[in-house]
Structures are given as C-alpha cells and as structure tokens.
C-alpha cells in the first residue's frame, strides 16, 4: 500500500516500534486465491534465515516450483480437493492447480499484510509512491483455498489445519459465508483451536453493508474487521451541457474523451429490460447508446462489468451513479471505458438534467491522485454492519481499517478489472472491500506480536480495539458514507485502528480459552457441541451461572427487552450487570473510569478506580446498566474509558431494545 502506512502513523519513528529482526520472526498465513511470487513485494532482500520454528513448504504445481518461495514468501500451499469434489477436476487451462494466484485477490491481501517495500509503485500512475505491507519485514505463507468456483469449507479447514501445524503466528481470512451456529461453522471451529494455540485470526466482516445485521465471521475468538476510507481519492470530472461540473472518481487511464460535449443518455431509457438502468449484460439498446455517454445505476453486477456492457453496446463513456443504498460512497475502478463514479446526489442531478433537456450532453475527464481528503476515515457503505444476529451480546465488527481504494500487489494472470477482456498487466492494483481491511489488521497484529511476543491473540485484539478511535480530531464521530450520518458501534465496533497507540495500550482484556468455554456454556451448548469446537472434554458446571455478559471482551453489547416482549405492562427499568477483567501491560499505574451514557440508560461502574502495582496484574470491575423501557427497534450507544492520564482504554457500548 502506498498511503496507509502514513495514514496509520506507521511512517513516524516511535520508540516502542518493534525492530525489523523481531518483525521478521513473525509469520502471517493468508488463506486466499494464492500468490504471484514474482512480485517485487515478495523481494527478500535484507531478511535473515527463515525462522527456525517454520515447518511449512513451498508446494510444487503448475507454474510453481520450490524456488518460487524465498526468505519473504516462506510457504505456499494449495487445497483443492473439496473444490474438485464439488466441481470436477480443475481445468488447468483456466486456473493453476498450484499455489499460483490466477485471480489477484490473494496477491493483494498478502502484500497488504506483509509486502516488502517497493519504490515507484502505482496503478497507471495513480496512488504513486512506495508500496509496503503493514508488517513489511514479516514472513508470508499463502494457502490457496479459493478457486474460480468459490472457496469450500473442507479446503479452508484443511488450510487452517496445515497453517497452524506449519507454525504461522497470524491467520488472515478475507472470505466468509453464512454463519450457522459456531459448532456448525468449520471456519469458527478451526479458528478456535488456532487461537487456543496462540494464533491471531483476523477475518473480514463482509460486504453486506449498509444493511444492518449483515456480518460474517462473528465468533468472539475471531477479530472481525470492517472497512473505512483513506484520505485519498482519484477524481474524475463530469461536465454537463448546462455548464454544471461534477466530481466523481475513476482509475480510467486509456484514451480520453474529447473536450467537446457528447450526447448523454440514462440507461433506464435505453433498454427494454425492467432493470435496464443497471447496465446488466446485453440489456442496452445499441441504437440508443451508440456514441453516447451512458448513466448506469450501481448494483446488480460488478462496477467494471457495467462499463464493458456500455462499450459493447457502442457507448463511449459511463457515469456510474450510486443509488440510495450506497449514498455518497465513491469507489475507484480501473475501467475499460472513460468513467466517473458519482454519489447519489450527483447521480440524481445528472438524471434530472437528462430528463429536463431535449438534447442532453456531457463529457468526462480523469484527474490525478488527491491526498489529504477530509473527513477521513469514513465508513464504507459496503462494510457489513451489526448487530451480531448470532450472539447479540457480542458487539461486532470489532474495528475498522482501511479497505477502500487500496493499492497492493496483483497477479500477472489477470487484468486489474478481472474481466476476461482486460488484457492489461499490472504489478499493483487498486481495489476495495473488507477483504482489503482484514489484512491491514493481520499485518498490524504481526507488528504487535513482534513487539510483545508473549501476548495472547486476545491481548493483541484488545490492544487494537481499546486504542481505536471513533472520532476525528475535531471531536466529531466518524461518518458513515452511506448516509452522511455519524457512525455507530454497529458500523465501526471500537473504531478505526490506531497502531502506534495499540503498541502501548496500558491495559488489555486478555480473554482466555477458559473464558471462551464459559461463553459456550452460557450459550447452553452441550458437552458434545463444545467438543466439536474445542476438541476438549468440557462439562459446564450445573451449579455455575454462566453469563454471556461476562465474556471478557473489549466491547459491550447490551440487548434489552421491551415491556411487551417481557410479557406485561411493566415499565420499570431493566438492570443488567456485566463483569470484565483488565490485565496490566504497562508500568504500575492507577486508572480511573469515565462513562458517556445516553439518557435512556444509567451506567454504574464499580470500582471507579483500579490500581495496578505490577505488570500482568489483573483487576476486575462490574458495569451495571439500568435501562429505561424503549420501543422495540430502538438503539442507543455509550462509551466507557479507563485512563491513567497516559493511556486511554476505551470500549464502545451498544444497546438494543427488541
């Protein structure tokens, strides 16, 4: 990436940053579409021998030899048996039966997490700079589990199994599926044992936003990552025949449109299809779009596919207009036709102009990379949102990280759009998704692991969460680009990652494997179900009152019942108590609590002060929430902070009434 290190403050010299040789002891395993090993991002210059603990391999296959790996890319495997069992033998003319990445996604995620620094990186001159992963000295091992037909759980589980055996310290999974109960979810099951063996597991939250309740990978032993923007964009300019100028986004780099104005048409008026405005394949009437700029609505098919549909129908350019769901979010893509992606307001203005003018005209021009865009970050519209439908007592996502317009390594086997007709070859591509934010956290977790080798995965997750920020420097809450409103913990979890603060969090919520067992007991899981997840014999104590409220998690979710669902006219406040334990990871200090509470809920923390005399000392506290009745569907939010004047250990709180 060429901007996130600076955006995250990694460019600064901070005394407690881990030394390069310590980072190089950390191994990040990436489960994805494989790897393009020839990328300069896998240059191993300056790296010492592979860590002695490493037991992995560089598997040989089509276009992949044992010498494809080096001291940077120390392992590469592929898992295709589940895929081939479902789809039949892999067609090697279409994809490589080897760790080689034919898609690009896996090269992008692995280089985002831990790519070596590459000077002079850009995509067609956009986002130019030095590209590097978050943990640029860490080692990478890739596990190819995703193929043209998808990613299958039997392959993913085999990859997790092997990666942990190989000796990875961090696992990065930018994929997801439906979330049945934890004991039916093989990714959650594999991640449990991985975490129990000291492996930090980060997963993407999903791209189901902005709808609520759309999260993937919500198990509490997984770090669930949503996506936000950087302070960078790629402007493209639309000039309308009425003189109005509109700014959108694009990474188009081909032959520009003429300065003179061209006819413009709304796709919905140039198609016989009921969903003609979406520019789906073969839905545009060539007679109505030939030689014109076409306005297409977002949704239904990929953004780059729409440009191709326009081009194939004879159109000369595209304006990609957001609908209500995407708000003002502007995603940059390496379109094959001159394009400007515009927000909903601009899209509406352009459509209004088209409908009001007998001969509407426009032109599109592409600008250059712009830095310092504010406000930033804003929550991506696509980033999946809470509440956590599987376990409403656990707040997810855990945090957000950069996931919009991210430049990172790409495959030599596909063009930047991924379209078959895109014959361009690039070493770097700019793409968006929670797939892109997840490896940012994986790389940052590797940095924390290097700085604090004895920290558990839960301690690392806690440090990342409790030091995340949820407001801008001016005090305003991070915005949600889908509606321009302040975001909530259901959008951002604890907030946006702040790695320099995470390196020295002061206190952590060090959730243990035993805590997770108590959590499973609180879910009323049977011993059999617990054993499926953990491999261990564990019988919940019938005399013990296991409570979901007491999982030692760095955030709080408080589901409440309305009087009607409680079965009566009772309007008395509901009182619930949560318990947490903090572990000191700093010098002796005294922390005092502060709470910002909504008017509907009174929050009492006991004790209000915690003194730690030594490192790793633990102290517990309780939080009592006294909540007034609210209509079903109500939501409210609060924040709890412990501070010793030097550190702030923050936790978001989300209340829901159902």
């Amino acid at each position: 990436t060429t901007r996130t290190p600076e955006f995250l403050g990694l460019g600064k010299s901070v005394s407690f940053f881990p030394a390069s040789e310590k980072v190089s002891e950390v191994i990040i395993g990436v489960l994805d579409t494989g790897v393009w090993p020839e990328l300069e991002s896998f240059n191993d210059a300056g790296l010492g021998p592979v860590p002695a603990s490493w037991k992995g391999e560089c598997e040989v296959g089509k276009n992949f030899t044992s010498s494809s790996c080096n001291r940077k890319l120390i392992g590469a495997r592929y898992f295709s048996k589940g895929y081939e069992a479902a789809f039949g033998a892999i067609d090697e003319s279409q994809e490589s039966k080897s760790p080689r990445d034919d898609d690009g996604h896996g090269s992008h995620t692995s280089t985002t997490a831990a790519g070596s620094a590459v000077t002079g990186a850009s995509l067609f001159g956009f986002a130019a700079g030095t590209a590097r992963g978050m943990a640029a000295e860490a080692r990478v091992a890739t596990y190819k589990v995703c193929w043209l037909g998808g990613c299958f759980s039997s392959d993913i589980l085999a990859a997790i199994d092997k990666a942990v055996e190989d000796g990875v310290n961090v696992l990065s999974l930018s994929l997801g599926g439906s979330s049945p109960d934890y004991y039916r979810d093989n990714v959650a099951i594999g991640a449990f044992s991985a975490a129990a063996q000291g492996v930090f597991v980060s997963c993407s939250a999903g791209n189901g936003g902005p709808s609520s309740g759309t999260l993937s990978n919500v198990a509490p032993w997984i770090t669930t990552v949503g996506a936000g923007t950087l302070d960078r964009d790629f402007p493209a300019y639309v000039t309308l025949g009425n003189g109005k100028k509109i700014t959108g986004e694009s990474l188009y780099s081909g032959k520009p449109l003429p300065d003179s104005l061209l006819p413009i048409v709304y796709a919905g008026n140039a198609s016989n299809s009921t969903s003609g405005s979406l520019c789906l394949s073969s839905t545009l009437n060539p007679a109505k779009v030939a030689g014109k700029i076409v306005v297409c609505d977002r949704g239904g098919n990929s953004r780059v596919q729409k440009g191709l549909v326009v081009k194939e129908a004879g159109g000369v350019g595209m304006i990609l207009a957001n609908t209500e769901a995407y708000g003002e979010e502007q995603l940059a893509d390496a379109h094959l036709t001159p394009t400007a992606a515009v927000g909903k307001k601009s899209g509406d203005a352009i459509k209004s102009y088209i409908s009001s003018d007998a001969n509407p005209t426009a032109t599109i021009s592409t600008g250059t990379t712009r830095l310092g865009v504010q406000p930033s970050p804003v929550v991506a519209a696509f980033s999946s949102r809470g509440p956590n439908l599987l376990t409403p007592h656990i707040l997810k996502p855990d945090l957000i990280a950069p996931g919009v317009n991210i430049l990172a390594g790409w495959t030599g086997g596909a063009g930047p759009t991924g379209l078959d007709s895109d014959k361009r070859h690039v070493a770097f591509n700019i793409i968006s998704g929670t797939s892109m934010s997840c490896p940012h956290i994986s790389g940052l977790a590797a940095l924390l692991k290097a700085a604090h080798p004895d920290w558990s995965p839960a301690a690392i997750r806690s440090a990342l969460m409790t030091t995340a920020y949820s407001t801008y420097k001016n005090g305003e809450v991070i915005q949600d680009v889908s509606n321009g409103s302040p975001s909530t913990p259901f959008d951002i979890g604890a907030g946006h990652v702040n790695p320099t603060a995470a390196l020295d969090p002061g206190l952590v919520y060090d959730t243990t494997t035993d805590d997770y067992f108590a959590f499973l007991c609180a879910l009323n899981y049977s011993s059999l179900q617990i054993k499926v997840i953990s491999k261990r014999d564990f019988t919940c104590n019938g005399n013990k009152n296991y409570k979901l409220e007491d999982l030692n998690y760095p955030s709080f979710a408080v589901p409440l019942e309305t009087p009607s669902t409680r079965g009566g006219e009772d309007v008395a406040p509901t009182t619930v108590k949560y318990t947490r334990t903090l572990t000191n990871k700093g010098a002796p200090s005294t922390y005092k609590v502060s709470v910002t509470a909504p008017k509907e809920v009174k929050i009492v923390v006991e004790p209000e002060s915690l003194s730690f005399a030594e490192a790793n000392e633990q102290k517990s506290y309780t939080v009592t929430f006294i909540a007034s009745p609210m209509p079903s569907g109500s939501e409210s939010f609060a924040r709890l902070e412990w501070s010793d004047g030097k550190h702030i250990v923050g936790s978001p709180i989300a209340f829901t009434w159902t």
Binding site: A158, E165, S174, G176, G206, V532
Partner: protein, 89 residues
Amino acid sequence: TEAQKSNRQLKKKTYVIHMDRTNMPQAFDDHFKWYDSSLKSVSNSAQMLYSYNTVVHGFSTRLTVEEAKLIEKQEGILAVIPEVKYELH
C-alpha cells in the same frame, strides 16, 4: 416423484466428519485407520479428501444423505457438517 427422491438420496455431497479421538476404540492403534474404518463402514466407495489433525480431528469425504446419517450415529463421531461455500470479500 419417488425416482427423484431416490436420485437425491444417492447424490453425494461433501461433509466434514469431526471425530472424538479420546473415544477411539482400542482395536485401533492409529487414528487414520480408525477414520478409514468408520468411513468404510458406511460406504465402500467413499474416499477421504482430507484428514485433519491439528485444529480439528476428523476427515472430509463425499457421502449420500443416508450415509451421512449412518455415520453420524457411530460411536466416536462428534459431528457431520455439510460443505459450505464461502466467498471472497
């Protein structure tokens, strides 16, 4: 129809079989042989796709719905979980 129902039952799907190694019968000195024996007891033709040893104990294989129900009832089987397709984000 009955024929369609029968076809559905014969159609194989991938399952991950989670095994309880602490309940491995004493007749076996190797968990892999135990997995294989468990599989062969419900299907002579089924092949093991993977054997899992580190984060879970068990294996994956292709079974009919009937075979999956049969193996689920065996001693030492913790869970039989159907294959799920995941997508990149």
